[in-house]
């Protein structure tokens, strides 16, 4: 029962916050709305027994990435929020209509697929699936395919750091 109430509260909050992010004109406000969405999604991860991912979501997304966004918004100092005002056009209306069509298509295509439960799996039962121990054992197991992507991620992050410095420097 607690799970049901928590799901509906978090789902409604996350959808409202994401719509507020799209609707508001001020970039700082949309960044804060996005932080709200990320926190709601992190709480939903806990409902899905993914505790480690929930912590990483709060630390990396709601912490690091959004601070980076806010820094760039403050750095560029775009003046009043009306500086980027949309010219009067039909684009938002058409985009919203196409988005609703896209959502209906997604839901219809999803309803065609019958999700079958594998034998022995009981998704309603809490299980220690995503604890640090479970994630770590699976991530560093040589029999699983995750060890090489993990090492490749380090090179990716190094390249991203170098690329960000080169992009943001005035003279290389």
């Amino acid at each position: 029962m607690v799970t049901v109430i928590a799901f509906w509260v978090l789902a409604i909050l996350s959808v409202v916050a994401s719509i507020a992010m799209v609707v508001t004109k001020n970039p700082v406000r949309s960044a804060l709305a996005l932080v709200g969405t990320f926190l709601c999604v992190a709480a939903l991860y806990i409902l899905l027994s993914a505790q480690f991912i929930a912590a990483v979501q709060v630390i990396v997304y709601a912490g690091a990435i959004m601070v980076l966004f806010l820094f760039v918004i403050m750095l560029l100092n775009l003046g009043s929020p009306g500086a980027l005002r949309e010219r009067g056009s039909l684009q938002p209306v058409i985009a919203t209509g196409m988005g609703i069509c896209f959502l209906i298509a997604l839901l219809l295509s999803g309803s065609l697929i019958k999700l079958r439960l594998p034998a022995g799996a009981r998704p309603e039962v809490y299980e220690p699936l995503g604890t640090v121990r479970g994630i770590g054992i699976n991530l560093f197991d040589p029999k699983q395919p995750w060890l090489f992507p993990f090492e490749a991620t380090s090179i990716l992050l190094l390249v991203a750091v170098v690329g960000a410095i080169i992009m943001a420097k005035r003279k290389v």
């Binding site: 959808v15 966004f69 390249v159």
Partner: protein, 100 residues
């Protein structure tokens, strides 16, 4: 009772909100935020399906998606800062560097 389908529908709604945001907004920073929202919706469906099948592999994909998202944001915001230095604007309607 909350089933996996509930989470998938929520993920679809969040993803669609991100798509509409990308189409509507003029500010590339906010467009980046909408892309992050779409990535988050995909992560949510990964985790929901991973738990549906009782496997931890869905969460593995989410870890790598997080790392790629962090790299993408740092490089993308660097590009936005560079464009702002060169053109003094970041309105996506006025930036047409690739138009010959």
């Amino acid at each position: 009772m909350i089933t996996t389908s509930h989470f998938l529908v929520l993920s679809a709604i969040l993803f669609t909100t991100g798509v509409v945001g990308v189409l509507v907004k003029r500010n590339p920073i906010v467009i980046f935020m909408c892309v992050e929202l779409m990535l988050n919706a995909a992560n949510l469906s990964f985790i929901a399906l991973g738990r549906h099948f009782g496997q931890v592999n869905g969460q593995m994909y989410v870890i790598f998606a997080l790392a790629v998202a962090a790299a993408e944001v740092s490089v993308g915001l660097g590009i936005i800062v560079a464009i702002f230095r060169a053109k003094e604007t970041i309105n996506v309607d006025e930036i047409n560097l690739m138009k010959s």
